[in-house]
Symmetry: D2
Subunit: 315 residues, 4 copies
């Protein structure tokens, strides 16, 4: 993620990538040389008064430490999700961040397709939202080695959908139920995690939201939203790799959908940094902040609890 955000910042007309801080020297050499950035220790970067913003893209267990250091140094912070896997730690640190100086990396809110759907929803095309389907299927399961430090399916993966649900429902979940299985890789199950899940959320006013997750789709990175209201349905679909169709006596064949997050959310990652540039320059407050990270984390824990207990969790 450091590569993606670093490049987007470097290419942004209102930002300059001055430093790259990374213990793995090799990894960021290209980033530095391509954008004339300097590889330094964190202290050096934070001590430089010309540095106004920091992109925290370290490993999840370092997010909070690095974000705190940056904020304490007076910088505006962009932090990758999740803030941390430990809700207690996240809550304990919350008061140290001002909302104006912390942007959380829930990139899907910046995806132009999802934004177009949200604008139509807000424009009343289907009337007030009644129910929502979020489909988030990863193309391939991560290596089993990733599972133990991942936070599990819900904190690592579903958390995006939980944030999208909050963003689109316009109302906090009142209860949720998650049914989950290990169908993709038995090793994931042995490590105590699940790889296939369906979550049903209900808000206080009775709105319903289904989240569909799998760690391995077999057909690409399936990222869809369906929103239902009294006057109709809004759907954001997948893009295909190209527009070519072959028509033969066997049917019509077209290109696969986009295979992974880097391509699928390329524009969203860029728009996210565009927003951060506005935040750094004091022209906007973060549209997605620390409190959103807390809320999504609480929901992710509720999903895990629902699976563990086999029952509905009230929020």
């Amino acid at each position: 993620m450091g590569q993606i955000h670093g490049s987007n910042a470097a290419n942004h007309p209102g930002l300059r990538l001055k430093y790259v801080v990374d213990p793995r020297q090799q990894a960021h050499a290209g980033l530095c040389s391509r954008h004339s950035a300097q590889a330094v220790e964190l202290e050096t970067a934070l001590a430089d008064p010309s540095v106004r913003g920091v992109l925290v893209c370290s490993s999840t267990d370092q997010h909070l430490t690095h974000a705190l250091a940056a904020v304490d140094a007076g910088k505006t912070v962009f932090c990758e999700k999740p803030i941390d896997l430990d809700l207690d730690k996240v809550l304990a640190a919350q008061s140290r961040f001002r909302s104006a100086s912390f942007q959380l990396g829930f990139n899907r809110r910046f995806d132009p397709h999802f934004l177009a759907l949200k604008h139509k929803l807000e424009a009343g095309v289907i009337g007030p939202l009644e129910s929502l389907h979020l489909i988030n299927h990863d193309p391939e399961a991560p290596p089993a080695g990733f599972i133990p430090t991942s936070g599990g399916l819900f904190k690592d993966f579903t958390i995006h959908d939980l944030d999208l649900a909050r963003w689109l429902l316009g109302e906090e979940p009142a209860q949720l139920y998650t049914s989950a299985s290990c169908l993709v890789d038995p090793e994931i199950g042995r490590l105590g995690d699940v790889d296939t899940a369906r979550t049903v959320i209900k808000t206080g006013s009775g709105r319903l939201c289904v989240i569909s997750n799998t760690r391995r789709s077999g057909y690409g990175y399936d990222q869809r939203i369906e929103a239902f209201g009294p006057r109709g349905m809004l759907a954001a679909g997948n893009s295909q790799l190209n527009t070519v169709q072959s028509m033969t006596e066997n049917g019509i064949t077209s290109a696969p959908i986009q295979p992974g997050f880097a391509d699928r959310y390329r524009d969203g990652y860029r728009a996210q940094i565009d927003h951060f540039a506005e935040v750094v320059h004091g022209r906007a407050t973060p549209s997605v902040g620390y409190a959103d990270g807390v809320a999504a984390l609480i929901l992710a824990e509720a999903c895990a609890e629902s699976v563990r207990r086999g029952s509905v969790v009230k929020l």
Copy 2:
């Protein structure tokens, strides 16, 4: 439904519509005259030894009485769903039906689109089924007056999806959870029913199925299936009323989806009667029978119970 099934039978080369039994004389006059059928009392029709099959399309509370009378008279029976709203009555009568002489009206199993999906599933196109989404949204809520005798959303409407789920999953549900609301018409809520629901089913082996229901879509009769396996996804979508697209600077507009069941399942209703003709002539045993009706009814009751108790129901 009597009009639809009666016409399909009359137009079938291997069947002849001899009698129409209907207390509402006006309603079936056209059916009789169009197909040279005779309006008679039930006793007359059942006493005629040339009558080999009976289509039971009476009101739901009469299905079982009429089906039993027909079976006792030695006829082969096609019976509209549900068999009855009362599970005890349905179970009590079960032994009186031989599987060879009772076909239940779960028409969606005969829909060519859903059948094509099932064939691809069985052909292994996506590997073994892992999860399933069934979308069944009615275009408009029924009049509130229909609710009290309808059996409620689950026995009246979701029952189709519960049968589809059993048919496609190839395995019985082990537990289910339903989250439901009354968002469409408050009168439905006052009558003790719900109009918007999401059901999550889990089978013994961990397969997951989500059923999405609403009584009023605002955009037509949304009837879709999405099936997921290790190698991909199969989807059966909606048909639109025509193939015309308008492209302007405002975007691309095409025709609405089919508005209701009569058009959407026209081919399926016909194929269902084609199958009944084979059954009547002893060339096939019913592919969907009494036991399927029992199983779906049990699941429909479980949905209602889940909503009532707000918890997961083990099956």
Copy 3:
């Protein structure tokens, strides 16, 4: 075609199929028995004063003889296209038909997809029509034995598009040019015909229309219209055999398009007979008549002449 039109007439609530006249006894036996019609000689049928309409579906070289006999007997005539392959004969007979009693079988004008496009065009969705693309590709070449009596590609096949062009352009062609080849079956070329052609029509006001024809598409019966105006484009596309999509890592596959005319134009054939019923009962005058057959035949001859001379033909 006799089977299709005969069945549609028999199933029409306002018509009854009384007689079938066919020298090939075997061919129409089913039609007679299914609809309780009688096989008789032409004279018998025409002498029956209760017969008000006649469907002429004989071989092309008999169309005119039969249509004249029927009209002379005071019947209203539906006649398959083309009226005849010989323009002189067609012109010579023209005065013997009153426009109220002759409907020509240009079925595409009754196709609901094409009609929906025409309605949108007339509603001004794209502004006044400027140009038009008609795609008419047959799935497979006819047997070479059919070619000598077919009238050639233009009178047999393109004639439908020439009629559609006139119907949609709302203005007569002023000149046309056809470029054609024999790419499908060399035997067709040896018989003096072509199997692949592109025709460009220009009207007096400068509207342009391209007609694309091939005798063998390899992918089904491709029947499309694209209409262009100052504010956009209207397109009528192909229907696929079902709505199922398979998504795998290799891409998205869906069903073939409809393979032939009987399925593709099923609704249009029915609507054509619906219109004939109105004509027979004096409630409508034929929307497509003898003069349209003359005009299309003149254009078909112009296409052939353009190919023969290798140049533009003024009309």
Copy 4:
């Protein structure tokens, strides 16, 4: 175009944008500052031995002068199309360019959608190509003031399609016919040009190609290819601005197609410069060169001649 190509070159890892030569100082200031390039006179740039390649993006009447100057200075040249509007000048200069050092800016050959179609064609998905439709509709007519120096519709606009036709047909056109009108803007007609045209090309072996052009579509930048062979059809379609669909009782609405060349061909412009980088570094010979420019220009003149004479032009 200088902005697009200059930025793509500057962002290419194997190229560096050293100089910008532009009499209109304002226009290129941003390009220089963003990419640390220097604004100089042409002589300075060409005299610098470290400059290996030159992108000629001047006005059409300067292309040839600048390309010659660059080639004479030993540089490798990328030149925007057309080489010049005057075929005689183009032919006279041809011998001064070696094929290894001249790449012509027919960007559509580098579009990933069109390339994917070509690869499927070459892979034999539909068998040997028989016919081709090229749709190239500009969203809005250029200002009338542009017409006199544009070379007219065929040299300015259709020339892209003529190159695509040559590229895809794999065979030179043997004859062509163009039918054209002025339907968009009467001022274009008064200036002696046309704005709506259909061209039919025939190759020696009888392959047919239709090119559809209009200066104003009203619905965006319509850029499509349809290729037909014995076993089916390949089609490259338009992309829409986003994937959102609204479904209501009025139908299904989705986003407009891409509105203009900069977005539609963004990837193709980049790939074109990728190729130029390979050419500059001697790792590739230009896949599209001077001879292709000559051939397309001859065809464009033939289109104009066909319109002028109202007849077929042999090539």
